[in-house]
């Protein structure tokens, strides 16, 4: 029992630190990717190739003066970024990061917990993520913050529906809600889920962009209209938490996309690879992180390529295109499964 608790605590700590580390270096990566796409050099002052830039940025965030508006609700003002950070970190609990490590006679799965409703848990955490933005935006007592918060909440609610419907089709195909089970199915025979659910994947990907408030759907913090959006009044590390939570969300979304549609930690042609035991587990985890980093890069690639949507375009896309498409996807999946006798 005690070893179990120690092992779980260590795993939680590692996932926590990796989330923070990846998020920190995603900010550096974003600036480098943006610089590359705009034919610039990007940050290159702190350390070789500027690789200490995230540390410098973090230090700067901590050292800056902290301003809390006097007319705002102080408790809720602090609660906002805390909730944003909390919900961003919570979803990593159910993601399967790798297979089972064998140490001595015991097997230690590299997944904190494989609850049988894993995908719904992720969905619940995502749906709760909107409160950090809403509470922060409202407690700032600033009309631009409030407008940003209202935009964020309506956008997230609208795209959650299409996201949920895209997952329904996937659950029909896999017959399970557990993420561990889904990865196991993609590993033993058959193709990755992207082959069976291309439309579902596309819908899920677009909704992931909207849920993380990334360009082209970054209307909640649209500078040209709303100053800074929901975090206009925030300064110092509280602003840092909001920005950081966004990068953690990108990391977790990339991990969930890889798990659901791209085979999780499974290597392609896994059964032909002459690796066994712990080496295979390590290779799988490395490959999983490779996939995750590719998707993080994809998020950045899109941000620096596609301009921002207009608000009515955003709502039209969500309600009039994505939701009917997702319902069509469910129907098509059902018909195909019936035709192939898989029901």
């Amino acid at each position: 029992m005690l070893t179990f608790i120690i092992y779980k605590s260590i795993l939680v700590l590692i996932v926590f630190l990796i989330s923070l580390g990846v998020a920190a270096y995603a900010t550096y990566g974003e600036r480098k990717v943006a610089a590359f796409m705009q034919d610039r050099i990007g940050p290159d002052r702190a350390g070789p190739f500027g690789i200490f830039q995230p540390l410098a940025d973090g230090l700067k965030m901590f050292m800056k003066e902290e301003i809390i508006p006097t007319v705002s609700n102080k408790f809720l003002f602090i609660l906002g970024p805390s909730l944003a950070m909390l919900t961003a970190l919570m979803a990593g609990v159910v993601v399967p990061w790798g297979g089972k490590l064998a140490i001595g006679d015991h097997f230690y799965p590299l997944q904190i917990t494989d609850i049988n409703i894993g995908i719904l848990y992720v969905f619940g955490v995502v749906s709760f993520g909107v409160y950090g933005i809403m509470i922060g935006g409202w407690a700032s007592n600033n009309k631009y913050s409030l407008l940003g918060a209202l935009r964020a909440s309506s956008q997230m609610i609208s795209y959650e529906i299409a996201m949920g419907l895209a997952i329904v089709a996937l659950v029909m195909k896999t017959g399970t809600l557990s993420l561990g089970e889904m990865v196991a199915q993609q590993g033993t025979g058959g193709w990755w889920n992207i082959v069976y659910q291309p439309l579902g994947f596309l819908i899920f990907l677009i909704c992931a962009f909207a849920e993380t408030n990334r360009a082209p759907f970054d209307l909640p913090e649209c500078e040209t209209e709303l100053v800074g959006g929901y975090h206009t009044e925030y300064s110092s590390m509280k602003l840092g938490f909001y920005l950081f939570a966004e990068y953690i969300n990108i990391f977790i979304s990339s991990a969930v996309i890889s798990t659901l549609y791209f085979g999780g930690f499974n290597l392609p042609f896994q059964s032909h690879i002459p690796l066994d035991g712990n080496w295979l587990v390590i290779a799988q985890t490395a490959f999983f992180f490779g996939k995750v980093i590719f998707f993080i890069f994809f998020f950045m690639w899109v941000r620096w390529t596609i301009p921002r949507f207009r608000y009515d375009q955003l709502m039209n896309l969500g309600w009039k295109i994505l939701i009917p498409l997702a319902i069509f996807n469910i129907l098509a999946t059902g018909v195909l499964m019936y035709a192939l006798g898989k029901v």
Binding site: G124, S127, A149, S153
Partner: protein, 167 residues
């Protein structure tokens, strides 16, 4: 006592306290936030009953969707003033009488109740998504479908009401 019993009392305490705060706090935004805390405590009770699916749907539907809309409306209407509009006396008297009648009904109902386990509650898998789906789509197929038609009708009504009139 078992750990689950401690958790039960803790969750019950949180649920009752935050439910009280919903009606005692004068700021509507605070009330909504306390209501969310109440929903989380109730979801914790579901988890103690091994009904994980119910707990997560409870969070997604109530805390994640409905309360966001509540908060949305309150923020849009700017109801964040801590003053209550002065109400007339007749509604107050009516409210006291109806609440008293409800209280009497509840006491009369619960007076003779005995604490006992339902036969279904002994099956610890009842709340899992497998068994829930089987019960819903086999034994209670018709009520389930009828209630979804009801939801659809309500949705169509809401869309119709909010649509601008076309001349």
């Amino acid at each position: 006592m078992l750990l689950s019993q401690y958790l039960f009392f803790f969750l019950s305490f949180v649920a009752v306290l935050s439910a009280l705060m919903v009606i005692l706090d004068k700021n509507p935004v605070h009330s909504v936030l306390f209501l969310i805390v109440t929903f989380f405590a109730i979801a914790g009770h579901y988890l103690l009953l091994n009904a994980q699916f119910l707990a997560v749907t409870h969070i997604i539907v109530y805390a994640g969707a409905i309360m966001v809309l509540f908060l949305y409306v309150i923020m849009m209407l700017n109801l964040n003033k801590e003053i209550e509009p002065h109400k007339k006396n007749i509604p107050k008297v009516a409210a006291v009488i109806s609440a008293g009648v409800l209280m009497m009904c509840l006491v009369a109902l619960l007076k003779g109740a005995e604490v006992q386990m339902l036969p279904a509650a002994r099956n610890s898998n009842i709340g899992l998504v497998d068994s829930l789906g089987k019960v819903l789509f086999k034994e209670y197929m018709l009520p389930f479908e009828v209630s979804s038609v009801l939801f659809l009708a309500a949705m169509v009504g809401a869309v119709f009401l909010s649509k601008k009139e076309i001349h």
